[in-house]
């Protein structure tokens, strides 16, 4: 109570908080709002095709930052023959079929192998190329490992959701199969000695090993052949007919063979474009663009989340009414389930009730709801921390309940809540990493696509981590400062 502080203390406290919040809001609104609606104009009917963009040489980003590769060429040629404008969507492999099923895109041209399980859900076109599953091992083991059976009891890597994972688990259960997010991670663990081999497409494997200069080589014959085809939803047989006709014509005209020669042939011509590593400029632009999306998602979610959290926090701090039990159970459910699943649920589930959200909209929606659940708890405890005597004093002065809340309780609760709210903001910033799974090309996804051609995971993941840290560190410092100021002013009744 007897702290001697001059006016500057108060000014520093208030202006620090105000400028930080106001500055961020302005910055974010400027960065964010515009691109959210940017991709909604359309003239000619679009042919929307999904692929990962992280699967060289089938789909990846070129030195200039453009999507390129065998699958991309095929997609472009098919769209041309359908007389439709091609729109490419990059998305994670493990959610790519789910996206097709709910109508996020018309087709997948992403080297998807035909399997009976997949064929139950979707219709496959005629295959547009044939490859096969190949085991690769470290060069130094070439004398001891001659084939798949030599790896029984040891660990083998595969891409998560790829057919090889299913194949190994069923046909070679003696092998410990480890599923990885990307080939780059597999290469890293091969060199770390965590896995003794990996199974992938023979063409892809050879290409990537050569490109990355990796000391790996194929072992044994093809495990099985795969036919790569274009899946579309069963409800659209007309499109399937058109795609099949396009593929047939492409085969007949030799166009498909040209693509094959271009990407897998021995000639050097078009190869130089893909062999050149991404330029620094492209990498910087990709990372900044990705981080822009990250910030856009984060800050829109923070603003919307906070606006939702205030009434929820108030309800949570009030008497046990229907509203209380509703908010209580919704909040508990949100906080008790993984954000990843919530994202899938919104992105893939919303179209089922006729609500088609763009990936960014779905991300902002989910993150807003998610963070509002946490912020509401912070606000609830902030309200609880205000001495009930403050309300008593307000009443004794004749203020109404609303006036007491507006002028006495809320200003104190908000200041008390600010430091933990900052922590929610920091947590949310980091949670944006998850929205890549619903095809938002935020910074981590961009980093992965860079890594898929540069093979330098540690370097680029570190850069991305630093980008996050540059933003989160001042927020954490500010939270600490605010907390000290609040204690000095004796808000929390000790």
């Amino acid at each position: 109570m007897y702290l001697r502080k001059n006016r500057k203390a108060r000014n520093a406290f208030d202006s620090a908080a105000r400028y930080a919040v106001a500055g961020m809001c302005v910055f974010l609104l400027a960065v964010c709002v515009r691109p959210l609606y940017a991709d909604e104009s359309s003239a000619r009917k679009k042919f929307t095709v999904a692929l990962t963009g992280k699967y060289p040489p089938f789909s990846f980003y070129s030195a200039g930052g453009e999507l390129t590769g065998f699958d991309v060429d095929v997609a472009r040629a098919v769209a041309g023959r359908l007389d439709r404008e091609l729109e490419l969507v990059t998305t994670e492999w493990d959610g790519i079929l789910a996206g097709l099923l709910v109508g996020k895109y018309d087709a997948i041209i992403g080297s998807m192998a035909v399997t009976p399980q997949r064929a139950e859900k979707v219709n496959f076109s005629e295959p547009y190329y044939v490859s096969g599953a190949q085991l690769f091992i470290h060069e130094k083991n070439r004398r001891t490992i001659k084939g798949i059976k030599d790896l029984y009891g040891r660990k083998v890597g595969v891409g998560i959701g790829e057919t090889y994972e299913h194949y190994l688990r069923n046909k070679h259960p003696e092998i410990k199969t480890l599923a990885y997010k990307s080939t780059v991670d597999i290469f890293q663990d091969m060199r770390n000695g965590r896995i003794a081999g990996f199974v992938t497409d023979r063409l892809v494997g050879l290409y990537q090993i050569k490109k990355g200069g990796m000391p790996f080589q194929p072992a044994g014959p093809l495990l099985y052949k795969e036919r790569m085809a274009i899946p579309v939803v069963k409800e659209n047989p007309a499109l399937l007919v058109k795609i099949n006709r396009a593929l047939k014509n492409m085969k007949k005209s030799g166009e498909l063979d040209e693509f094959h020669e271009k990407w897998f042939g021995t000639g050097t011509g078009p190869q130089e474009s893909r062999d050149a590593a991404m330029t620094t400029k492209t990498i910087v632009i990709k990372l900044l663009a990705g981080f822009g999306k990250t910030l856009q998602a984060a800050f829109l979610s923070i603003i919307i989340g906070f606006i939702l959290a205030v009434p929820s926090g108030i309800v949570l701090n009030s008497r046990r009414t229907v509203a209380y039990y509703f908010v209580r159970s919704v909040n508990d459910f949100i906080r008790g389930t993984p954000l990843l699943i919530q994202l899938f649920f919104v992105y893939f589930g919303a179209p089922q009730i006729g609500l088609v959200l763009s990936p960014m909209q779905a991300a902002v929606f989910t993150l807003s709801i998610n963070t509002s659940a946490y912020m509401a708890e912070v606000i609830r405890s902030g309200l609880m921390a205000v001495d009930p005597g403050q309300t008593l004093a307000g009443r004794s002065l004749g203020l109404t309940g609303l006036q007491i809340f507006r002028h006495i309780v809320w200003p104190q609760a908000f200041r008390i809540s600010l430091p933990p709210l900052m922590n929610s903001v920091v947590a949310l910033m980091k949670d944006t990493a998850l929205i890549a799974v619903i095809s938002v090309s935020e910074v981590i996804r961009e980093a992965q696509s860079i890594i898929s051609v540069t093979y330098e995971p540690l370097k680029y993941y570190f850069i991305v981590a630093m980008m996050f840290f540059v933003f989160t560190f001042p927020l954490m410092k500010l939270a600490g400062r605010l907390e000290r100021k609040i204690k000095e002013k004796g808000f929390l009744n000790a």
């Binding site: 702290l3 001495d387 004093a393 004794s396």
Partner: protein
């Protein structure tokens, strides 16, 4: 005239805090409500402030039951300064003072501020205007809280244990300060500090175990009750 008639109050746990209390508060005096801790003083204060509703009996202001008074009229007639004062920590002393005049009496900001500064000057604490509650002493906080309530010009201002946080010297100063203000309102000092009360109050009531055992001039209460302050 403020009258407490046959007021009884029991807490939900069954504890009977007030049992048939009768007290009359004439205007223009400093009055004392005395009693040891647990004698029902604060419960009575909260009933008069309409923060607790007595199960029986009534409290009347100028002949009207306070339960029927509109909020604004009640608060402008009876002010309360709680033992813990409850200054608003996020507002300066001046802002603490102008909040109710602006929001309850709908005065404009300039007028409210002018009046508040005037009052602070008159009470000898003008230099506190721009400080925050955490930056002033206990005695200054006590005066600020009283000043805040006085701005509503209440007929009665109830002070709950106003000397609890003050040392001996400050208590003496504070007593003199109150005496200088007795033209402003009728102060009702609710306290266990019978020495303090005896110096500034003209008459009062003594509560014992939720019942009024003595009323009348302070001198008589002191003599007949043989009341001895206990160390707390």
């Amino acid at each position: 005239m403020l009258e407490v008639r046959d007021v009884s109050f029991s807490y939900p746990d069954g504890h009977a805090a007030l049992r048939g209390v009768n007290i009359t508060f004439p205007k223009e005096h400093i009055l004392g409500i005395l009693g040891k801790s647990g004698s029902g003083k604060t419960t009575l204060l909260k009933c008069i402030g309409r923060f607790l509703m007595p199960q029986s009996g009534r409290i009347e202001l100028e002949g009207r039951d306070i339960r029927e008074l509109p909020r604004r009229e009640l608060r402008r007639s009876i002010g309360i300064v709680f033992q813990q004062l409850y200054l608003f920590p996020h507002l300066t002393v001046l802002e603490n003072m102008t909040l109710a005049p602006r929001k309850v009496m709908k005065k404009d900001a300039h007028e409210a501020e002018r009046e508040a500064r005037q009052t602070l000057e008159k009470l000898g604490i003008g230099e506190l205007a721009d400080k925050y509650p955490a930056q002033i002493s206990g005695g200054q906080a006590q005066r600020t809280a009283i000043a805040r309530s006085l701005l509503l010009k209440p007929d009665y201002l109830l002070l709950d244990e106003p000397t609890a946080a003050l040392d001996v010297d400050t208590t003496r100063e504070f007593g003199q300060w109150l005496l200088d203000l007795k033209a402003e309102t009728t102060f009702v000092i609710v306290t266990h500090d019978i020495l303090f009360a005896s110096k500034i109050a003209s008459s009062g009531a003594l509560l014992t175990g939720g019942e009024v055992t003595h009323t009348g001039p302070m001198r008589e209460i002191l003599e007949t009750a043989g009341y001895v302050e206990e160390e707390e």
